[in-house]
Amino acid sequence: MIERFDPLKGERLQILDEKGSARAGLDPGLSDPELRAMYERMVLTRTVDAKALKLQRQGRFGTYASNLGHEACQVGLASAMTKGDWLFPYFRDLGLYLTLGYPLADHYHFWMGNEAGLRTPDSLNIYPVAIPVGSQIPQSVGAGLAARYRKLPIAVVATFGDGATSEGDFHEGLNMAGVFRTPNVFFCVNNQFAISVPRAKQTAAATIAQKAAAYGFPGVQVDGNDILAVHAAAREALDNARNGKGPTLIEAYTYRMGDHTTSDDSGRYRTKEEVREWERRDPLLRLRLHLEKKGLWDAKLEKELQDRSTELVEKAVAEAEARPPATVEDLFAYTYAEMPPDLAAQLEDHKAFLGEAAR
């Protein structure tokens, strides 16, 4: 399917239209429970995100990167991944995390500034968030090389925004992936902005997807607010990776509905009208309309889901807030496998200082 949508010809894969109707022949044929589960993940994601923003305003949360509008990209991709696959994420991947089974409290730990949130659960093949933009891309290629060396039939996913495609690491990573035909899926969430700088100022290319052509592998642009399109493209790209057919670049065309972070004011660089225009294309709304058309959803189910999500979120927040910050010993413990004497002396000195200050 990917090959049928050529970004150089301006073609973009869309399966669900804004009224929630699926295009015949392209529908990935997900079961009813799968579709419902996807919608539930999207709603949970949005609830977690909204709560985070609220906590930040109340001073209970650090600077936070809002997630609004990215749910279809994230849940669509994650629901196509299988257990052995690896994820090298960026910092706006909430729905991916939740779909892959990341504990909600851990997510809050991280953004609340508690070291406890740094360790991704041992059971999940999720590398820690890459904050330096694009740096996870070559890492994911190395993981792809390692997977092949170890003969593991898995795919390695890297996610990043449109801004990351201007970084050298995007080029170095995709170039290397092309050369070695690694089992990678490069998933670009093109949300139109890198903080304030619009997509048009990141590249003169008409699409990001077409850049794959220069690296010698397929690229496809999908409607990032259409979870079926995201899922279908991701599933095919992941299958190709696992089956030795090399890497794929997916550009999910979407819109960052919120500010870049809670430190940002997007009113300085975009209009309310533009944002409203995108509200019409809300990814949650679109899947909900589709479910309703199929008779899989109604107001009662919606109310129950909202309540359940809120309950989960409140429980996780309470758990995260109850957890004390890292001890001083913990802050020093993970710098080296074995603490050097110098560092041990600094730790002892700091503890002595704390003891004196407490007196």
């Binding site: 890492q139 190395g142 090389l145 390692a146 050298g168 690491d169 290397m176 913990d330 710098t335 110098d342």
Partner: protein
């Protein structure tokens, strides 16, 4: 067996790869060509293209990919062709290699050894003579190792590759083929984080590493003719630093000097002098002197000797300190 440092490195890489199939070598020209200094000579033939990988010319991707390999349990030994070209990979090294253990509370470690030739004194092109080890020593989580002889190179490289921490392994190009030494065939490790007293003396302590060790030795021989006995400490691991060995020596000799190729300002000499000041102040008979590269860009080959500390500059400082 008698061999040069580059041969010792080559032998160690081969033996470590035989021992542990998680070890992968990757870098520019490391495969068919065997490396521009031949450090990986014969490994491509012995271990194949999956384990000795000629990469695209992309330093950030070489280190970035190495990091990704460690996620799946491999132990890469990437080569950066010259230290002067390591900077595109700085983000990967500083933001990820050094801190992944900490930022995953120990779940992901990065047991890779980044080898790179470094240092002046071989009349090389621009950007091929840098000695910027101090940049790495300020990054918590990194271990920086420099051998000064074929014997040390073998033992320190084996220890670095087996270490659970990431190691920046700096190979002094000037010493690659400077001498041959009897190096045991069987693998062995020299301990990391340990300095070695390579010459004993009672009058003055010289702390140095890499290509400055032969320079310090020459100066010490000349000083001995004048009745001054110099103790030389080969730091071997620059960070985490073996401060105890330095302090113990200075307490005996009462005089200290650091010799390094890197520029003076914020070089490791400053760190060593501060350590001596903190821990051995009352043992000192004079200031801690630094004989170093100047705070200038490494000159082109014809004027390189103005930059690089030689035995004469060291001797001059020895006389200044003895007469202080």
């Amino acid at each position: 067996m008698n061999m040069t440092m580059v041969q010792a490195i080559n032998r160690t890489l081969a033996q470590e790869m035989e021992r542990d199939d998680r070890i992968i070598i990757l870098g520019e020209d490391v495969g068919r060509d065997g490396g521009v200094f031949r450090a990986t000579d014969g490994l491509f033939e012995a271990f194949g293209p999956e384990r000795v990988i000629d990469t695209p010319l992309a330093e950030s991707a070489i280190i970035g990919a190495s990091i990704g390999m460690t996620a799946l349990g491999l132990r890469p030994v990437p080569e950066i062709q010259f230290m002067g070209f390591i900077y595109p990979a700085f983000n990967q090294i500083i933001s990820h290699v050094a801190r992944l253990r900490n930022r995953t509370r120990g779940r992901f470690t990065v047991p890779l050894t980044i080898r790179t030739p470094y240092g002046a004194g071989v009349k090389a092109l621009e950007h091929h003579s840098e000695s910027t080890e101090a940049l790495f020593c300020q990054v918590p989580g990194l271990t920086v190792v420099v051998p000064s002889s074929p014997y040390d190179a073998k033992g320190l490289l084996a220890a670095s590759i087996r270490s659970e921490d990431p190691v920046i392994f700096l190979e002094p190009t000037k010493l690659y083929r400077a001498e041959k030494q009897d190096v045991p065939e069987d693998p062995y490790e020299l301990p990391l984080r340990r300095a070695a007293v390579v010459r004993e003396g009672k009058d003055l302590t010289v702390v140095a590493w890499g290509a400055m060790i032969p320079v310090a030795r020459k100066a010490a021989e000349a000083a001995a003719a004048d009745g001054v006995e110099i103790e030389i400490i080969d730091l071997r691991t620059l960070c985490p630093m073996d401060r105890d060995t330095i302090v113990a020596s200075v307490k005996r000799t009462g005089r200290a000097m650091v010799v390094h190729e890197a520029p003076k300002t914020c070089g490791l000499g400053a760190e060593i002098a501060a350590t001596i000041g903190e821990r051995a102040l009352l043992s000192l008979n004079g200031p801690v002197l630094r004989v170093t590269g100047h705070d200038i860009t490494v000159p082109l080959p014809k004027s390189e000797d103005h930059y690089y500390p030689g035995p004469e500059r060291v001797l001059r400082a020895v006389r200044q300190l003895m007469e202080y």
